[in-house]
């Protein structure tokens, strides 16, 4: 008879759902407000990896308090996070749960009849990559970070999740939803019962337009790879890659909550088969509670007390040995039971162990019989991987070469020091999510591999709103400086230049002035003056032609965005060399380097450019 016990697995799944909902709320709450709340960068501040990374790459912490909280969480929560709260882990668990129901996979397996429960196909628990690979990978990544090359930092699951939500999920969710909401609203808005749904919709999604992000295909490929790897092996990502998981793996050892097995375990091995994370003899555990669920006589507990099967703590070798042996030869289980005087009861269903397939047993041969203890972290291997990071750095730099930033590569307001920005930027995507105009876009390799997916302003897609400093407020690492509004309005992102071969009043005998109209600076940086354009008969017509006053222009890009020409705008924002170089090029004071604040001054000694 089955004993009633608490359904830990259901609690874990509930916790995962709550965590996903919390992250989702956090994500959707990051929309236009005049002042963001204090908790709107919290997701990244509580991430110990953020602080470790910033400490190594910039040699100081952004916030001692949050670093301390993250450190406490690192030890207190440890691996429980992976099984119970990690949003990426929840997604991967969902993929695994759907695995048997995915249509294509079923087609592929067509013909295989459903097997009886007694002959469950054991999951693939074979180690596909070297044990503790994630720890070594983390070592290599940290060496890269020390060289200020955070190329692979988007492997942080928190960063990855947020970025994925921003650049893929939101646009994909928004497109059909917007069509639906728009269509229903257009149909029903005059009826009394129809709620003002457009208003609420516009508050949580970009008003008027579907958010889009450039070059996200490659990002989706990465996500698809992670999901495909999940189909190869449960929690592949978490076992071998995840750098946050690697940190938690290290603190797992000292964590008080561990899996404990009663000494009268009858070696039925159902816990081994049910485990989500490489079998229960792995170095650590995700607390997925599947084994509690599988162990019908309820001999497993995670609460303190009783013998522990783990690397550190009170290991009970005879049980461990017998369990390993039991997998190889069914009679070993019997021997073990005899040796320890365990009499199996009716509750102990021993039918599973003899039916385990040979390859499952084979997988354990080396780990359990060859070497009883799970593999520890090898100092030598760690050094080897660190050395690999050391070698990888010049290779990455080789890709970047001595390339200059493209002229139209505009950074968010207040960012002048490209190297400093690249090393501070977590690539989390909070700035892109909060940007009011959808102008902040993930870069590809324009600024080098190190700056992959860092924010850039593509003015033709969305300009920098004059009265907005939300990207700086939303940046958790301070890569985009938090500036007061008046200060932000003086930041020079670039300078507008007119393409007079396309600009309407330079080409046709028509006026336009859209750019001048939108220019937000108090003394307009785009001014108009009379010029003349010949019509088809050669007759000259007077038109009002725009020109830029570089010392007034802050490069917000609203002119480029609003230019009515199709395709390429006739006025475009280009990077400006900071400080003295700018002055020698254009004879005006350019953006200060690197301190913000004193740029874009309206000193009178400027010459005009562009007309």
């Amino acid at each position: 008879m089955r004993r009633r016990r608490f359904n830990w697995k259901a609690l874990r799944i509930t916790s995962q759902i709550v965590a996903v909902l919390l992250v989702g709320s956090y994500f959707f709450a990051l929309v236009y407000q005049q002042q963001l709340h204090w908790w709107q960068t919290l997701l990244f501040q509580l991430d110990p990896l953020t602080h470790l990374y910033l400490l190594i790459s910039t040699h100081h912490l952004t916030s001692w308090l949050y670093a301390l909280i993250a450190l406490v969480l690192l030890f207190a929560v440890s691996r429980i996070f992976c099984g119970w709260a990690c949003p990426l882990g929840a997604l991967l668990d969902l993929v695994s749960a759907l695995r048997g129901r995915l249509l294509l996979l079923n087609r592929w397996r067509r013909g295989q009849k459903a097997r009886p429960l007694s002959s469950i196909k054991p999951p693939n628990h074979r180690s596909l990559l070297p044990a503790n690979f994630d720890v070594y990978l983390l070592g290599a990544l940290l060496v890269l970070a020390a060289f200020r090359s955070p190329t692979l930092w988007l492997l942080d699951p928190i960063v990855f999740t947020f970025k994925f939500l921003t650049v893929v999920i939101l646009p994909v969710l928004d497109l059909p939803l917007r069509t639906l909401v728009n269509g229903l609203d257009a149909r029903f808005y005059q009826t009394g019962w129809w709620p003002p749904v457009m208003d609420s919709y516009a508050l949580y999604f970009t008003p008027y337009q579907n958010p889009v992000y450039t070059d996200t295909t490659i990002f989706m490929l990465l996500a698809a790879t992670i999901i495909a790897l999940e189909l190869v092996q449960k929690r592949f990502w978490c076992r071998y890659i995840c750098p946050l998981g690697a940190m938690l793996r290290l603190t797992y050892r000292s964590h008080p909550l561990k899996r404990r097995i009663r000494p009268d375990c009858a070696y039925c091995l159902k816990c081994e088969v049910s485990c989500n994370f490489g079998g229960t003899l792995e170095t650590d555990c995700l607390y997925c509670m599947e084994c509690i669920h599988a162990c019908t006589p309820a001999k497993i507990s995670f609460l303190p007390g009783g013998p522990v099967i783990s690397r550190s703590g009170s290991v009970t070798p005879p049980v461990l040995l017998s369990r390993g042996e039991a997998m190889l030869r069914p009679q070993a289980a019997e021997e073990g039971r005899a040796m320890h005087g365990i009499a199996p009861t009716e509750e102990d269903d021993l039918s599973l162990a003899p039916t385990l397939r040979a390859d499952f047993k084979q997988a354990y041969r080396q780990r359990i019989c060859g070497e009883l203890q799970p593999e520890g972290i090898s100092r030598r291997l760690l050094l080897e991987y660190a050395a690999a990071g050391f070698v990888a750095y010049p290779l990455l730099k080789l890709f970047d070469g001595r390339r200059e930033l493209p002229l139209d590569f505009i950074r968010p307001p207040g960012v002048y020091d490209e190297a400093k920005f690249t090393e501070l930027c977590l690539k989390c995507g909070q700035c892109m999510k909060v940007c009011l105009t959808n102008g902040l876009q993930p870069s590809l390799v324009e600024a080098g591999l190190s700056a992959l997916w860092t924010p850039r302003l593509i003015s033709r897609l969305g300009y920098c709103e004059f009265n907005c400093n939300l990207c700086g407020q939303a940046c958790p690492s301070g890569a985009i400086p938090k500036l007061a509004l008046e200060e932000k309005q003086r930041q020079v992102l670039g300078i507008a230049f007119f393409d007079r071969s396309r600009c309407i009043p330079y080409v046709l005998p028509n006026n336009c002035t859209v750019c001048e109209e939108h220019c937000p600076t108090a003394d307009k940086a785009i001014k108009m003056r009379a010029g003349s354009v010949a019509d088809k008969d050669g007759k000259l017509h007077e038109t009002q032609q725009p020109y830029v006053v570089p010392s007034l222009c802050i490069g917000c890009g609203i002119c480029e965005k609003k230019c009515p020409l199709p395709g390429l705008s006739a006025v475009r924002i280009f990077r400006t060399p900071p400080g003295d170089a700018f002055k020698s090029s254009y004879g005006v004071a350019g953006p200060a380097e690197p301190a913000p604040g004193n740029s874009g001054d309206t000193s009178s000694d400027y010459s005009t450019y562009g007309g």
């Binding site: 009826t191 457009m198 008003p207 009011l436 105009t437 609003k562 009515p564």
Partner: protein, 315 residues
């Protein structure tokens, strides 16, 4: 799963029947007046009360109330249970003191009057240049929405109705006008008077650009476009906010030195007439303002302010 012909036909007819029923239901719920209905101002009423009023006084709220009262009260324009659309200028994310957006007190006064007159619904609309959420917050019109029954409608991209040009238009053949302009019983044009880089002055006529989309194309012959829009979208009540006016660097402004405090409200029943009067605020002659000259040439408005019957009130 295989599907025989009978089942297929049954399901197909069921599905088509369902769609037809759904469409019929949609048709049932649609309604509202057809596009482009604007009753001409009642001539008898117009003869009784003035059609143009110039109010000066310290309080913009009181000025607005007084101006509408001098025109015959809001009841002249609005019957109980009718729908109102107010078209303020919320085009820019600027604070009211920069005189780039309509003074929120003026909008509030109009909303309050409409509510007291028993309006069924009061909607505010403006197709903004800057981010709408920010424009509402900074201009102070967001507060009006939050504290009154008025509703600001965020644009539904499916909500544009195509208007064809009316006789007399020379440049525009059609314009996409937002649905709120059509689906209301009273349209109140409620702009701010300010300088504009290309249309010279932006007042009631230019404010109609806030009701249409694809404005980039209109800019190539802006004056013709504004003149055409004025004839295509006649608002029955025009309230020009000249509490503060912007003298230079319009339409965005941003420098308090460019702002002049006039404490004036000009109201009327014809956007062009109000604009002709409004030119006086800037010391410009109406015939020098491109779109007004065009409207004058078309016989839509008398360009000489002296020939307009204006009621001047000091509140």
């Amino acid at each position: 799963m295989s599907l025989d012909r009978r089942t297929f036909l049954t399901r197909l007819s069921l599905a088509l029947g369902g769609i037809a029923a759904g469409m019929a239901a949609c048709k049932l719920f649609r309604g509202g007046p057809p596009v482009g209905q604007f009753a001409a101002t009642d001539e008898a009423e117009a003869a009784q009360a003035g059609n143009l009023v110039w109010v000066e006084g310290k309080d913009p709220y009181a000025n607005t109330v007084r101006a509408v009262k001098e025109l015959g009260g809001i009841e002249r324009f609005l019957k109980k249970g009718q729908r109102v659309t107010i078209l303020p200028n919320v085009g820019w994310a600027r604070k009211p003191e920069f005189a780039a957006t309509t003074n929120p007190q003026v909008v509030r006064a109009l909303v309050d009057m409409c509510q007291q007159a028993g309006a069924k619904s009061i909607s505010l609309f403006c197709n903004p240049c800057n981010d709408m959420r920010m424009s509402l917050d900074l201009s102070g019109i967001g507060d009006v929405i939050h504290s009154t029954a008025a509703r600001y409608e965020f644009i539904n991209e499916d909500g544009w109705n195509e208007h064809t040009a009316v006789p007399g238009c020379t440049h525009l053949k059609k314009a996409d006008v937002y649905r709120l302009i059509d689906n209301c019983d009273l349209l109140i044009n409620c702009p701010i008077a300010k300088h504009h880089g290309s249309s010279q002055l932006t007042m009631c006529c230019k404010n109609l650009m806030g009701a249409v989309r694809d404005r980039g194309a209109i800019h190539q012959s802006l004056h013709e476009g504004i003149a055409d829009l004025t004839m295509m979208i006649p608002a029955k009540l025009c309230v020009l906010d000249a509490t503060r006016i912007l003298l230079r660097n319009g339409p965005t402004g941003g420098n308090l030195k460019d702002v002049k405090v006039c404490n004036t409200i000009i109201a009327g029943t014809n956007a062009a007439e109000v604009d002709v009067l409004g030119c006086g605020l800037f010391g410009s002659a109406p015939k020098d303002i491109g779109f007004l000259k065009l409207l004058g040439d078309r016989g839509y408005v008398k360009l000489d302010p002296a020939k307009l019957a204006v009621q001047r009130v000091k509140a």
